[in-house]
Amino acid sequence: MNQDKAGRRVLSDLSVSLPKGGFSTLIGPSGAGKTSLLRLLNRLDDPASGTVCFMGRPIADAPVRALRREVGFVFQTPSMFPGTVAQNLLIVPTLGGQAAADPPSVGEALRQVELDTDFEHRIAAELSGGEKQRVALARALMTRPRILLLDEPTAALDPEVAEQLMLTLRRLREDSGLTIVMVTHRLSEARLASTYAVMLEAGRLVEAGPADRFFSTPATARTREFITAGRQGSEPA
């Protein structure tokens, strides 16, 4: 598929499959088109040309709001709704026109993201960056999605908090069987959590494959160069 943004081509002739039940990371330098690709997966944007398929069916054929409840999205900067953490979570089942079938309880959603249940009474806007990101994650889980898209969820967090969040995400996938697709700048995170990795550059696919092989024996010189630069500490913080 192809995608344009403000008159500029941001994805060119891209064709990629992401494994069901996997933890895929999208990596690449700034401007590679990682976020543009992620936004196509739950139709926050539509491609300029081409098709995105979910379980073999074009997502454009499904009602968009129902699709978004199956394909959750967590943004780089968590945007808290007014009120408490519980209110942030409980609003989700009311957004679907009719209540989503069997939404998780607030306590269950908070446990999934490894937040103490006492958090439900806290004012969401007053939480720390890491806590807000976990609440945003819990909120996305309130629709019981089958896929979770994460756009650099740790970009605004310090490395220690970021690593804890990565471990939470890894356990979440292992426990619930969620398919996760995450954009990240941090190669260390991609190595820690992912089972599948995709490298993009200038809107084109450079390489994609199982994470073990991708990071140990990359198939392309460009991926090798990017990973080596990351190991030497030049990866963006």
């Binding site: 926050l44 968009v64 709001r65 978004r68 999205f73 943004f75 945003a136 629709t143």
Partner: protein, 266 residues
């Protein structure tokens, strides 16, 4: 109870121009650079008001319903152009906003004047220009301000609230749900001047219509009752227009697939 009105002839009007000269002189003395704008504004006001005086005399004399309706429509059109002239987003945004603004002002103002004319004052004939034109002028003036405030505020709220709107959309919310808060804030912003004027009318301000009626010799108690009708109808017209604009305009920020359009495409 009426008393004869003191006549203002052209000589007295010339004396009144000394007042605008004071403003021009002050501007020149303080080097505000407003002297030219004030002079042009004064001349425009003089010409426009004199012309409308003659137009009103002609309308009152001809007394034709289609001419009255034509003037009312022209008022709505002019108000639409004025309300959208300074809206941000450039020409494409203004082109999109204008029909929304026109229909909202037209509906808000027409519904209000229809109720006031037919039910409250019981104007006969229904198109009596002596009542319809001044009342509709006041309604459209307020609706225009409400429209400009509502549209401007909605644009800025939709721009500053993009992250939150997309967070709602990503959870499966409809554009209506996702833009509920910007829409609420824009409607409140449009209503605040009306609410403020309701609170101080008769205490801080003596409105133009009431003052005009008293100067023209009407009993103050009658002028007050007319003014009460006026403030109520202005509140209704502003609320109807602002609600119409906000509810309609906010749809134009989304695609049919519930995607938030980039600001440049607005």
């Amino acid at each position: 109870m009426t008393t004869p009105t003191i006549e203002i002839g052209w000589a007295r009007l010339a004396l009144a121009s000394a007042l605008i000269m004071v403003a021009i002189a002050l501007s020149a003395w303080q080097r505000l650079g407003l002297a030219k704008s004030l002079a042009i504004g004064a001349i425009r006001a003089l010409v426009q008001l004199t012309l409308i005086g003659y137009v009103l005399v002609w309308l009152f004399n001809t007394n034709r319903w289609y001419l009255v309706l034509g003037v009312l429509l022209l008022m709505v059109l002019t108000a639409t152009l004025a309300a959208t002239a300074r809206s941000p987003g450039g020409r494409p945004a203004r082109r999109r906003l204008r029909p929304i603004c026109f229909v909202s002002i037209l509906l808000g103002s027409s519904l209000t004047i229809a109720y006031v004319g037919a039910v409250v004052i019981d104007v006969t004939p229904w198109y009596n220009p002596r009542y319809l034109i001044p009342l509709f002028g006041m309604i459209v003036g307020n609706a225009m301000n409400g429209a400009a405030l509502a549209a401007g505020r909605l644009q800025s709220e939709m721009a500053s609230g993009r992250a939150q709107i997309e967070a709602y959309l990503a959870l499966g919310a409809s554009p209506q749900q996702a833009s509920a808060e910007p829409a609420r804030r824009a409607t409140i912003a449009a209503m605040i001047p009306t609410i403020n004027s309701l609170a101080v009318v008769g205490v801080v301000s003596l409105p133009g219509m009431m003052t005009g009626q008293i100067l023209a010799g009407s009993a103050p108690t009658l002028a007050v009752r007319y003014q009460i009708v006026v403030v109520f109808m202005l509140a209704a017209a502003t609320a109807l227009t602002a609600t119409g604009i906000v509810q309609w305009y906010r749809r134009s920020f989304f695609t049919s697939a519930a995607q938030l359009l980039p600001p440049i495409q607005l």
